[in-house]
């Protein structure tokens, strides 16, 4: 008789809640004669996100009392790192489901499938972050990706949406294949796919011929670079960002970063942590290229979604800094960066979505000319969000950049610190150009941008986060620090 492994349900509750909510929506909509209203679906999805956050609080308390633990045959790990990732994902989901509701109304996308897919996709992201097994990470990655492919292709009114999805699909598939090949080779090198066992193996064995392990790690790293659109694996990002429906772009930019970064931090620092020095040159190159190329190519963009794509490439380079450092401080700072990036980028894309109108086509930067004159609050909100991404002082973005650069310096990466900060100076140009356009006085007659309640809430939340935690980053930093201290062996 097979002995079924025991499951600690608290640890997998977030994943279960999201899948459960997704399935519940799916089944309910199939069993009702009339279509389920978008607000009902949104309420459920907001509710489930809130539930996940509540569960995460309990998880945090549980970990504080009992320490980190592995469950379901070591496939899932319950530690603060994962809990924080869960919260970040839940937050992103919450905000996105609100934005997506208004988007669906505006673009006449009927049905509640977007909510169903968003919920399921989030479950995949959480799975990546709490997984302790490379196969589970792979499956989480696929759930995340497949959900996103469909979401990207959702907009039936724009042919570009499906074409972007195709492109995303092909490169995502390539990344997945590279990742799983890396996993296969790591499995060959260590005899396991469980991360903690792998790290134990590396810690207790001296490898005379470490080539296989290096190779596997390198492939995993490349796949990861694909997923977070680090240069030179970034080519898909601008097209996909441009083609995807705007709220989904925001979701993608936020959630993929959380899932990918936090999942891969676990793989690289926890699983392969003992040979960090091997990966450092690769990471170094990725960071330098991503930050510089992202900033420089962003300068030429006229389309704001492409611009934000390059911006996110640049930001991904920053997020990698903490990974490069590989210290507790580095992990904490990357966590901080990733978590704070979620509300900012989703709110930014929420505004972009509003401005682009019902057709979701007006993404030229000139559409923003004088926006801040006509609608000061909206303009100010966008300005704050952009300044935060720029890294202006007393915004959340400053502390995010500061902490990652600090962690790199702490690990004696002065060159990296210099290069990334200089790239931020270059990137500042396009953020500022956009911000300045908001308040340009050229009289371009344009209609007012309607701000629906849900999206307005999201934007307000994003701005409030930026400003409040921009002065007082202590709580988030505290969480990140506690999540990272116990994380590294």
């Amino acid at each position: 008789m097979i002995k079924i492994p025991s499951a600690h349900y608290l640890a997998i509750a977030p994943v279960l809640i999201y899948f459960g909510a997704s399935l519940a929506l799916l089944i309910t909509s199939a069993l009702r004669r009339s279509r389920l209203s978008a607000s009902a679906a949104t309420s459920l999805s907001v509710l489930s996100s809130v539930a996940v956050i509540v569960v995460a609080v309990f998880e945090w308390l549980y970990v504080s009392r009992h320490g980190a633990s592995e469950t379901v045959a070591h496939a899932i790990v319950l530690d603060r790192f994962g809990v924080l990732a869960t919260v970040a994902v839940a937050l992103g989901t919450l905000l996105t489901s609100l934005v997506a509701k208004d988007w669906a109304t505006r673009s006449k996308i009927l049905g509640i499938e977007n909510q169903i897919l968003i919920l399921a996709t989030s479950a995949g992201a959480i799975m990546m972050a709490v997984a302790n097994d490379l196969i589970v990470i792979f499956l989480g990655l696929e759930i995340l990706s497949i959900g996103l492919y469909v979401l990207v292709a959702m907009d039936r009114h724009r042919a570009r949406s499906a074409e972007a999805a195709l492109k995303y699909f092909l490169l995502g598939g390539l990344a997945a294949a590279i990742f799983i090949y890396g996993v296969a080779i790591l499995y060959g090198a260590t005899g396991t796919t469980t991360i903690s066992t792998m790290s134990l193996y590396f810690a207790t064995n001296y490898l005379l011929h470490p080539g296989l392990a290096y190779l596997g790690g390198a492939l995993v790293l490349i796949a990861f670079a694909f997923k977070v659109a680090a240069v030179p694996f970034h080519n898909w990002a601008p097209d996909v960002y441009e083609g995807a429906p705007t709220p989904i772009t925001g979701y993608m930019a936020a959630i993929v970063k959380v899932g990918a970064f936090l999942g891969f931090i676990r793989v690289i620092l926890s699983g392969l942590g003992t040979n960090l020095d091997t990966w450092r040159p690769i990471l170094f190159a990725l960071i330098v290229l991503s930050t510089v190329v992202g900033a420089v190519l962003g300068l030429a963009q006229k389309n704001v979604k492409r611009l934000l794509a390059y911006s996110s490439i640049n930001q991904a380079g920053f997020m990698l800094l903490g990974l490069w450092a590989g210290t507790a401080r580095g992990v904490a700072s990357t966590l901080f960066f990733v978590c704070t990036y979620v509300p900012v980028i989703i709110a930014t894309f929420a505004i972009v979505g509003l401005v682009s109108g019902a057709s979701d086509e007006a993404h030229d930067i000139d559409s923003y000319r004088g926006l801040g004159r006509r609608q000061p609050w909206l303009g100010a909100a966008l300005a704050v969000l952009l300044l935060s991404q720029l890294g202006a002082p007393f915004t959340l973005g400053f502390f995010a950049k500061f902490s990652v650069v600090a962690s790199a310096l702490d690990a004696s990466g002065t060159t990296l610190g210099l290069v990334t900060m200089l790239s931020a100076a270059i990137a500042a140009v396009f953020y500022l150009r956009w911000t300045q356009l908001l308040f340009a006085d050229d009289k371009v007659s344009q209609s007012r941008v309607e701000i629906p309640a849900a999206t307005g809430t999201v934007i307000a939340l994003g701005v409030a986060t930026v400003l409040i935690f921009g002065v007082w980053p202590t709580p988030i930093m505290w969480l990140c620090q506690h999540a990272s201290i116990a994380f590294l062996p």
Binding site: I2, K3, I4, P5, A7, F19, L23, L26, V72, A73, H74, A75, I76, L110, E113, L117, A120, T121, A123, G124, M127, D133, I135, V136, L139, G140, I143, I146, G147, Y149, V150, A153, M154, R156, A162, E163, L166, K167, L170, L171, I185, G188, A189, T190, G191, T192, T193, T194, T197, Y201, N205, L207, H209, P210, G211, L212, A213, L215, N235, W236
Partner: protein, 185 residues
Amino acid sequence: MLALSYALPSIIVFVASAALILTGAVGVITLKNPVHAALSLIMTLFGVAVAFIAQQADFLAAVQIIVYAGAIVVLFLFVIMFLGVDRREGVEVQPLVGQKTLALFGVVVTISGVVFMMARSHWVTGIPSLSGSKLANGAHNVNQLGTSVFTTYLFAFEATAALLIIAVVGAVLLARRERSTGEAQ
């Protein structure tokens, strides 16, 4: 000396599977007609199945044929024929701005790197298995595989259910016809 120290049947099987795999793979990337490419793909899949059997993974070999050849490639052909992609212009994308030579260079470098690294580590470090049970021969390995899926990989197994649900919902969503007429009423 290298070759003769191994049993002849296993060498024959290897050569056969390699020939199938490589011929098929080259066919996939060179043939113009998608249907021919799909046929080449089937060839590769059979080759891989042969390689599986040669390595005592006969259950997987069967699953390989059932899933890949029996379902996935059929699906390919279905879509090709359904859309008439082979006769009309196909769906074209240019995901990377790389040219052929660049791609070839990259791939060759990567693969030689892979081979080199593997050779450096003497192909496999030969450590005893850390997790799961020892691989038994023959019929028992199906049982073992099942046990492993329901113990070590239980969570992954459950996750595949979710994955498939998402994939199905997504595919239905994508392939569904436009609702323009229905909603206009």
